[in-house]
Symmetry: C2
């Protein structure tokens, strides 16, 4: 027996017209290790926004008949030619109740339970999910369990990556985000020195209020001195950046090199011997990444994504990480939301403009049956 | 007994005044494993130019009394504060005759022999070198042996790096250089598919004349199609770039991702699963490196330098590489020069402007006693 319900779809036409809509859909019966989840809550993460809207012009879009029709600028439209004409579901993660299951034992054991899941179409009233990726929430509400995967596993993944690469400290840009706050708590629990770069004083105050030791505010006049002092104190020549575009990574590399070069006894035209490494894990800024030639050749910049990381880390590490998330879902890994919206509410102009701005502290939670 | 002779020095004052001069110097007696080499030939490599002139304004410099006095623009002057006030010798490598030695057996065995060496002050009539790094040239002339280290070991180092990282093919930008020609020959000998990117038709013709199979001319209208076809044919998702600034790396990543994404069955917002890696090993362009957000998160960009590579590769690999260079110094690893200059000739305006332009086929050879 199939189930019908509403779901968000995003479609980019070859001419650059982006249509985002709520549509009635039929969900198939789950088979094998699948479960059908009645979705109760799903966060709008930056990685969802990249697919939902990308850099489309939402300011001048049409909002009517429960649809957004917007224009995707170049070069992004051509760059996204792989999705042209495809009607795509959206929403990496969420939580809800398992209402049907395939015939595997693992799937059947979840019937009637509230779970966090990673279906890929979480902005929907129903979703088919893999039972092996579901996290039974017990007494935890769907609202509290909705963000149990992307941010917690990413923040834990940073610390695991640091360990795998023999790094003893971490630098994090845009550090006041939900994910950044989780990272502060994880690093405190694990005794990993963490340099937090934020953009505003209230963000610095918030992280310091959580006990963060090294917080650098990029709006301060002496920002670069602060950053160098924090790197010097922690030996953080390794970091993560969700901004991507502009000079966030460049500033980090430059400060790292200046600290390392300051400790050299002799001038070297090639810079210090200190290896510096940064990972870009998001694209809050879709402009190009700018790397100036001011830190020699001892640096590496790489992309970081959760799924390939988990594949590389292996099943055992992933199970350990998931258990830690579940054990601390309302403390270390708690998320907060500015606003709840329905599927239809997601497509209203004021809401769309606000949550797509991805401002710190302004995350939205979708309640598909709300 | 100490020896006197002429040597090139470069000095950057804190106010940005760069002085490059020939000066009489006293060379100490070699001790231990050192030898004193009467330098007969030394190439002017891009890595020497970074120290010799950097981005100083040579067009409007003063050329008189055997000196160049030029202005170092910002931000490069501040960026080079580590060398302010230091009078630095220049010249990574060269060849000449060993005229004195320390008391180690290895050093004494070289007396009277012609060697290639890596003294760091090769633009000099004499230089102290480490006997362990000297390559006895036998019948090979100093002119033919002068470039036995930097380019040959770098080109071999690329192939070794590819092997260490389980890469089966290599992409090389600015591929018509002396080093690029060596890489063509090495890859032919070792059966490693190589994508060569050049900027002019005569460079493409020259490499094809050497038997290079995949040569892409970035001046052609269909350059990007050519590049994608070459990557598709070779699986070169791994490469080296001596340009550094601008979009050379970006173009390579973009083409790699387009080839990989073209083989995907399903659209992914995160791009293909194909890992792409580029190394920057030079800075022919001192502008910033520009990375556009058009190839997902599966990429790594890193600096590559010969010395840290050799340290990582270890003594055995290095000895094997050196033997291969020595065995093929006038064939695979032959260098060609446009012009010979004396130490004084290096500081004449026409010469300085020409060799600092680092154009393909316009390398200079310094003959300190010529």
């Amino acid at each position: 027996m199939s189930t019908t319900g509403k779901q968000i779809f995003t479609t980019l036409a070859a001419d650059g017209t982006l249509t985002v809509e709520v549509a009635e859909t039929t969900f198939p019966e789950p088979t094998g290790n699948q479960v059908l989840v009645k979705m109760e809550a799903a966060p709008i993460n930056p990685s969802d926004l990249a697919l939902l809207f990308g850099p489309a012009d939402l300011e001048n879009a049409q909002y009517r008949d429960g649809k957004i029709v917007a224009t995707m600028p170049e070069p992004f439209n051509s760059g996204a030619r792989g999705r042209h004409g495809q009607r795509l579901p959206v929403g990496n993660e969420g939580a809800g109740e398992v209402v049907a299951a395939g015939d595997s034992d693992m799937a059947r054991a979840l019937i009637g339970k509230r779970v966090a899941c990673v279906p890929g179409n979480a902005f929907s009233q129903y979703a088919i999910a893999d039972a092996g990726m579901c996290l039974p929430l017990g007494d935890i509400s769907s609202r509290d369990g909705a963000s149990a995967f992307v941010n917690p596993m990413t923040a834990l993944g940073f610390v695991e990556t640091a360990r795998m690469e023999d790094q003893s400290a971490i630098l994090h840009t845009a550090a006041a985000s939900n994910l950044g706050q989780m990272l502060v708590k994880i690093c405190q629990e694990d005794g990993v020195p963490l340099v937090n770069i934020v953009r505003r004083q209230e963000q610095a105050d918030m992280l310091k209020g959580m006990g963060a030791e090294h917080v650098v505010n990029s709006s301060d006049d002496d920002y670069r001195e602060q950053l160098r002092a924090a790197i010097d104190a922690t030996d953080a020549y390794f970091g993560f950046d969700p901004i991507g575009g502009g000079k966030a990574v460049d500033e980090a590399f430059k400060a790292m090199e200046q600290v390392a070069a300051g400790k050299m006894k002799e001038y070297s035209r090639y810079g210090s011997n200190q290896q510096k490494k940064m990972y870009i894990y998001g694209r809050l800024d879709l402009g190009p990444t700018i790397l100036t030639p001011s830190y020699g050749f001892g640096w590496t910049l790489s992309g970081w994504l959760l799924t390939p990381f988990l594949q590389q880390a292996g099943g055992e590490t992933m199970m350990r990480m998931r258990q830690r998330v579940l054990d601390n879902l309302t403390t270390t890994f708690a998320s907060s939301y500015k606003q709840e919206v329905t599927l239809e509410g997601m497509l209203e102009k004021d809401a769309a403009l606000e949550y797509r701005a991805m401002k710190t502290g302004e995350k939205y939670l979708v309640v598909p049956h709300g």
